[in-house]
């Protein structure tokens, strides 16, 4: 079947897959982006600044942090440094996607890099064996679109969702993360080991260091340790069979 499809048709289908995979992200971003728009307004930002931040930065946690810092009249350089620190974790995600992508064009890679967030990275990594630029395109259209549009709406309406719904929808992205990872945890013991070790480390680290660093440290330490441990295990099993 596959071989009869023209490349254009095939990439259109992959793009559509990306759009579909982006639906839970779009839902999950909605309450957060609405709140961002609302707080940006009460902080005293103009509409252009609020939407501009979502358009140019597109990174939730750092945008909320920037609002707090602007309200406290923190200097620009400090805000920018703090943003860099919170968002450095995307470096790891980008390196991991680079390992899995079939895309060779640097321009397309540079374009899809803009859309790497915790959520798009998780969806792409757990949905695709080989990550195509077309898939990322569809995924980013949904997630970035939701983020920007609902940031603006939150500002304009000056209100978020009804309180009960606003609160219960705050679980959406975590539910999505769980929904993405559990099927793999059921099947692969290595995935389970990575997940548990990193969850424990991040919980402990979060007591001492900012969450951006806690995620980076927990991810790095568990990815390296488990890889090393599995290497030893495989070697041992290999020797046992000789």
């Amino acid at each position: 079947m596959l071989s009869y499809q023209t490349p254009v048709k095939k990439s259109a289908r992959i793009f559509t897959d990306g759009v579909k995979a982006g639906i839970p992200i779009a839902i999950g971003y909605m309450p957060i982006a609405l709140t961002f728009g609302l707080i940006a307004r009460t902080t005293g930002l103009t509409f252009m600044d609020a939407v501009g931040m979502s358009v140019f930065v597109y990174a939730g946690a750092s945008q909320f942090m920037a609002l707090q810092m602007l309200a406290a009249e923190t200097g620009a350089i400090e805000i920018i440094i703090a943003t860099f620190i919170v968002n450095i974790r995307h470096f790891l995600m980008s390196a991991s996607i680079n390992e899995r992508t079939v895309e060779r064009s640097r321009w397309k890679k540079a374009a899809m890099a803009f859309g790497i967030t915790d959520e798009t990275f998780s969806v792409a990594s757990l949905n695709r064996d080989k990550i195509e630029a077309a898939f990322m395109g569809g995924l980013i259209l949904m997630s970035y679109g939701s983020w920007v549009v609902f940031s603006g709406l939150g500002y304009v309406i000056g209100a978020s969702l009804p309180e009960v719904l606003q609160k219960s929808m705050s679980i959406a992205l975590y539910a999505m993360f769980i929904g993405l990872v559990v099927p793999s945890l059921k099947k692969e013991r290595k995935a389970l080991a990575l997940f548990i070790l990193s969850a424990i480390l991040c919980s402990v680290f979060s007591l001492f260091i900012p969450f951006g660093w806690a995620i980076v440290a927990a991810t790095l330490i568990s990815s390296v340790t488990i890889e090393w441990a599995y290497g030893l295990l495989m070697k041992k099993e290999g020797e046992a069979h000789v």
Partner: protein, 110 residues
């Protein structure tokens, strides 16, 4: 009040984009040693562990240091629903909607 906000935004944009872009543009996938390839393939599972815990229990308070019982039960109930739904391999949309639904009911009866 914030006439210079646009410069803050552009600065934030640059320092956010560079870490997202550098590995994808600068690293040749073929040149990565096998051990490091393995490590990078581990990253998604480790990232998900770190993204879910402890954050799912601290949605309102933002930190384990300030966690409340309300926060804890909220994450526990929503997380448990999502876990059951995904263990049964429901479509991810329904995993998300079921967690929202259960927490809406929980908030309304509380």
């Amino acid at each position: 009040m914030f006439s210079s906000v646009i410069w803050v935004i552009l600065g934030m944009g640059v320092v956010t984009y560079v870490p997202r872009m550098l590995p994808l543009v600068a690293i040749k996938a073929e040149g990565v040693p096998p051990f490091l390839q393995g490590v990078l393939k581990n990253v998604p599972f480790a990232v998900l562990g770190a993204l879910i815990f402890p954050a799912i229990f601290t949605i309102q308070s933002g930190s384990l240091l300030h966690i409340t019982w309300d926060d804890f039960f909220f994450g526990l109930i929503g997380g448990a629903m999502a876990f059951i739904a995904s263990y049964l391999e429901w479509n991810i949309i329904f995993v998300v909607l079921s967690a929202i639904f259960v927490l809406t009911v929980y908030s309304l009866i509380l």
